[in-house]
Symmetry: C2
Subunit: 364 residues, 2 copies
DNA sequence: AAATATTATGTTAACGTTAACATGGAAGAT
DNA sequence: ATCTTCCATGTTAACGTTAACATAATATTT
């Protein structure tokens, strides 16, 4: 493993100066045809590869962006990462990916390490509410974008699903199907304020003049086992609901397993709807869940495109940070009484989407 | 966005030399208690963060490893990445992740970029058979490990599933269930040699003295649509098989949709088995597929642990590159006639595993 | 007390690249 | 013929860190 050749080795071999080689490689200034030819030959001979680290030290740009999520292997996150990768690669950026496991400690360590690695930008689904490390990133001029969640008080762009409106739509659909008593199972979040999903749920009830019973909202740890337990609590309590609204696909498997074990017929005994979709095979699952298909890949594309803009154009923001929400699409299926017709491949393809940017509606 | 402070700024503020600060930060040599105190104060005051880029230029270690896969959002790959991340983070390495989309061109570009980025190691699921860029990586002393696939002629470690034996087991199970005519749908690979999966299939047939009919092996593009088409071809041909063996979960949804559309009863009309599992919800899918649960997360852990060893200990290999295969676990379910009892959460938990290392069996 | 090790620090020169400035010559304008 | 512009190239000094060597002061051994 001998020392790899550097720019000076190439320059010597080609009989020119290092700068001429640098200029040739970067196209940053014209280079004469003879020199070009000599340099090309020298690079070939020596198998020279530019050292991006040295370049980064000088230019203060690494071409790396960080993506920090709670669980990179969830089907939704995995798709979002793919979307981010797609855009980043096209813009000559590489992805440093971290899995925080929703741990504040791990997130904090990642933020520290990534800042030292001089990333050019960061996409973060925060697990901690600690503003200080994020403010430090922003103060150093590193564009920071929130994905899916945000930290109050930190002035940064946000891109996420349209939790409130989608939740409204799912609830409205259940009401249209005749449900009047609806239980909700949702992930334990900050219980101080209602989550956007609960807000959307509430809004749909209000709209239909259905009384709002907080006892019908159950908070659950994001695990199959706890969702199973929650569903049990709901079904074994005094008054069974007409429908159960599952606010996160991570909870769906527990609910479905409970129904299977206890022979609860869906939708006859109880209707079911899920906030988001269950991945590639969701239409093959029995009972077939009515759900809200969220554009996970597009989410990645949007957040990465916005990050690219922030990196290149900076923050000329007359109206402060952007807030972009991507609406999902309600898929009505068996669990709310639909016959469940055949699904074709095209259903999952690209479709028109309304993207809300800072409150305005824009067709994308 | 003012210039961030560097080691010299800290040194000046603390009234010592830059080297003393460096030694303090890295613990590379003892530092006096007074100096320590001054440095700590200076670092706090200036909000100093070491610049890893400058460090890397000097030490020739970036602390980054690359992971290059065909489809990072597939449930299996996503889990494997999580396993890799887990081990890497514990060893203070960060992950640069690339999605090659199975494109030779994109893979080549990634290899080029990543080499320039001076990664400390690479985990690659190759899409191209081109040896040259890989040999160059190895020649530069960067540890390279193959994941899931490998490139013939390149001397590098390999970690993957135990395709041949697992495939043998699935086939054996179908034979035990009475199937004698079995069709296989598998992904289009190099058709020159049989894939390990086809080999395992063949071996099981031979063992049971069942004639081997190459016409029963269909090669298929990895898409729902093409799998659907293939299944149609099989079921509409002269002699229907007793069973269809699906060699990749990416093809399962197409097959299942075909059965659903054409009202083919599983397992009555035709048994089904899949090489690998369909993810978190596989037991909720109807028909419930008999499949081989592959240890995707563990695969990531193993490959990352081996990479860590290679980075730290180098290549003292008396017996050449290692070849590690992780066996899966056959899950017998409805699609081969099982009643399909209730599944508990614990089934997916950790279990004893036999890991084959260079032909020897080791219990892990 | 002298010799030797150990501790705590500093100085200089890299690592491989590019920014900034400098220069000599050729082409075009006046 | 002279002035200007532009092209092609070179020189020097950074970017922020650590390796290697040097040194002075203190502690330990003989």
């Amino acid at each position: 493993m001998r020392k790899s050749p550097n720019l000076h080795d190439v320059a010597r071999e080609a009989g020119v100066s290092a700068m001429t080689v640098s200029r040739f490689l970067n196209g940053s200034a014209p280079v004469g045809s003879y020199a070009r030819q000599q340099i090309t030959r020298a690079i070939e001979n020596l198998k020279y590869r530019p050292n991006q680290i040295a370049k980064s030290l000088q230019t203060r740009k690494t071409g790396n962006i960080a993506v920090l999520l709670g669980n990179i292997s969830s089907p939704m996150s995995a798709l979002t990462i793919k979307g981010i990768e797609n855009v980043s690669f096209g813009n000559r950026y590489n992805l440093l990916i971290g899995n925080t496991e929703f741990s504040e400690e791990k997130e904090r360590r990642y933020l520290d390490i990534l800042m030292q690695k001089q990333i050019d930008g960061m996409i973060l689904a925060p697990s901690s509410k600690d503003r200080e490390p994020l403010q430090e990133i922003i103060d150093r001029g590193i564009p920071l974008l929130f994905l899916d969640r945000h930290v109050p008080g930190v002035q940064a762009d946000y891109v996420g699903f349209d939790f409130e409106n989608d939740s409204y739509n799912v609830t409205e659909h259940l009401i249209d199907r005749g449900c009047r008593t609806i239980s909700v199972i949702c992930r334990r979040a900050d219980l101080i304020n209602d989550s956007p999903q609960v807000k959307g749920f509430h809004r749909a009830l209000e709209r239909a003049s259905i009384p709002w019973d907080r006892q019908r909202i159950l908070y659950c740890h994001p695990s199959t086992e706890d969702a199973y337990r929650c569903m049990g609590e709901i079904m074994e309590s005094g008054t069974r609901p007409d429908a159960v609204y599952i606010a996160s696909n991570t909870l769906a498997s527990g609910v479905l397993r409970y129904c299977k074990d206890k022979n609860i017929l869906i939708p006859e005994d109880c209707m079911l709807a899920c906030f988001d979709s269950l991945g590639e095979f969701d239409d093959l699952i029995r009972p077939n869940l009515t759900c809200n298909e969220v554009p996970a890949f597009d989410l990645g594309v949007y957040v990465a495109e916005l990050l690219m803009r922030r990196i290149h154009d900076g923050y000329e923001r007359p109206d402060g940070p952007q807030r972009i929400t991507l609406p999902g699409k309600l898929l009505i299926r068996e669990s709310t009484g639909d016959a469940g017709g055949p699904r074709t491949g095209s259903e999952t393809g690209a479709r028109r989407q309304t993207v809300r940017v800072s409150g305005e509606a824009v067709t994308g």
